[in-house]
Symmetry: C2
Subunit: 437 residues, 2 copies
Amino acid sequence: MYLYAIIPRLSTADVIRRFLSAFLVAYSLLEKGELIVIEIISEGGITSAVGFTAGSTYAGLKTEAGVPDLGIVLSDRPANSAATFTTNSIESPSVTASRERKTAVTSRGIVANSGCANCSVGPQGLTDAEELASLAGTHTGVSGKDLYVASTGMIGVELPMALIRQNITNIVLSDEGGTDFAKSIMTTDSKHKERAVSFKHDGKTVTLGGSAKGVGMIHPNMATMLCFITTDADVDAKFLQEALSEAVSLSFNMIDVDGDQSTNDSVIVLANGASGTAQIDADSEGSDNFVEALRYVCTELAKELARDGEGAQRLIEVIVEGAHTTEDAQKAAREIASSSLVKAMVHGKDPNWGRLVMALGKSSIPLKEGEIDIFISDIHIVHEGIAIPYLKDAVVSAMNSEQVDFRISLNVGECSATAWGCDLTEEYVIFNSAYST
Amino acid sequence: MYLYAIIPRLSTADVIRRFLSAFLVAYSLLEKGELIVIEIISEGGITSAVGFTAGSTYAGLKTEAGVPDLGIVLSDRPANSAATFTTNSIESPSVTASRERKTAVTSRGIVANSGCANCSVGPQGLTDAEELASLAGTHTGVSGKDLYVASTGMIGVELPMALIRQNITNIVLSDEGGTDFAKSIMTTDSKHKERAVSFKHDGKTVTLGGSAKGVGMIHPNMATMLCFITTDADVDAKFLQEALSEAVSLSFNMIDVDGDQSTNDSVIVLANGASGTAQIDADSEGSDNFVEALRYVCTELAKELARDGEGAQRLIEVIVEGAHTTEDAQKAAREIASSSLVKAMVHGKDPNWGRLVMALGKSSIPLKEGEIDIFISDIHIVHEGIAIPYLKDAVVSAMNSEQVDFRISLNVGECSATAWGCDLTEEYVIFNSAYST
């Protein structure tokens, strides 16, 4: 199945309206060989790309026995790597160790644990992160310095190294181990999250896949979670970092669950070149395909994180269009997706659009109140800054679905951005009132 | 009752420890005539100061019949005025009208309504705000241009001017009408909020009192609510604005209920000089007393707003000390008081201090992780960045009270700040899921 790879910025009704013209454009681009086509691999993940294996085990870090909590991803050869990390000024020593590894450019893989953030534990944290990498390296036959380290879970608790030493050797790596790995990084996630795509490059099929975990302490500003991506494309390291940074800014930096930002957030991508194609860099033909594939996987995983936000029942998609700059549009979209009152009104299926206006204004971007149009799940609610008559029941009914769309047209410029959030529910409060106890 | 007017920056245990030395300092200052002494007036409010009357009526703006929703405060003579308004880039035309009045420096009073924010209603909003002022002026015998206007309630709904025209004449002003007025500005507040103090100036007693309302869309960055303050002191207009801006930055800008920021927030102070004392300006002897009185009333009302946050059961006080700059301390204290995860953990009486560290780091202020000490309601939890053994039950028990204190010592500088928040409860979500419907 080949898809016209527009990352979904359009609402359902728009898609129907624009389908014919999109088809014609796509056809003409395809004729000219300029169309970006990526194939979604059903049930694909971090081991979909050639040359990557993964696996996990239960080491005893999580309280629930038998649930995987320690995982490894390995490339069979050195892979160019790129990464982005939390901007929280308190960071886990696991992040510190990964930052150091990023400077080496190439990497052989990742070792990750859940159940313990390895954060705020003093100098022991870095000692433990290094030992964790070293143990994983010994088990897989590579240097610990060639493995990224990632930890997620409770802050303020040391890694139980005795348990890790004893159990890490139980990890069996396989090229079908992607899902096992994806499960081992879950914390409060209700399900594991994987996505993979392939596209043609240099006449061959190239694959890119990833897994991610959320789902609390989720807020824009790199990165709010863990995400690992592998590809068998051969990608220039500098270009890889640029493409990742851009993809993260459009995906993980545009989601919000609770406005909080973790000390452990990391997005790491490994490109091992096992597909045997020519190297992709900024100037190479078809680099757009890679950029689009990376962006697609990041965006879909980011939406999965928002959809699975703690206690969430609905995904919120906020499109701000007609802004002066993309930065303005991003700022406003994030502000709306992050608002507690907006999240609560989505939970209540309440078209209380004044809260959208409040959050929009709070972003302090330049706007003209008399130019603003607002659509809730494609129903026109506000025109030129004033409420227009609409059937409230129709809006309530439209909001009673798994996804609620807010589209705000500022009508002062040409730039747009999309952000995602989730509704705020009683379950979020109940859940987070008793996480450690 | 005379009080040593330290605005409470100290925790209970500290107070006990420092009481003796404070007493000695106070005594020596009193001897030298340098002690700031303010008297708290029990049940005082906006009509405690001489020359101010107030009243309210039910005009039909609120859905619950008979509850006051339209109020007036009047000075019997022109009063110097100062004000701060919302920084939300979408603002109510009622705020726009008040901004214009602020330029006139002197004012005769305030007309305020609840039940309707008069916001996002197009040009009609300013027309209605002006008519509201004009009607109030006609009823009280002053010019509408001499009355500030304030509105609070639903966004996107026009003021029902027919109801206001019909009912505004029912307002009876009296020097005991402060509480009636305070009730007329309530929206989701569970109780009205008033505070008044007096102090000596120029050998006479001067009084300052105010009322405020919250309690949703409450977040730092001026102003998040309505607050009106009156005083019979004669205060230089420029000095009045400086003192107000500083008091607001230490009080209303340091509280958070839900991270959202209203389109209608206003703090207005009127100083009519009816006490007959010499004018207070920056250089006059005893101006410290006025500054302290204003700060006290603002801080106490701000804490009342946080305590009465929608669904809240506990007040959170966050003290950040030992920062490089006051701005750093404020930023960190506000970030912690605003964190959903911190609010939820207070609701659950859960000493999950990793969330304090997360929120502290999210503020991005300069700090040294290995220097941080953390106290929860005076129990030492973290020393030099690492958890120290503590009896968890003791902390849970300490958190099971009406106020929970977090004190974070950064130990890198000499500056400190205090912020206030409230816990996040299921009731907040239930309440805000169905506010307009």
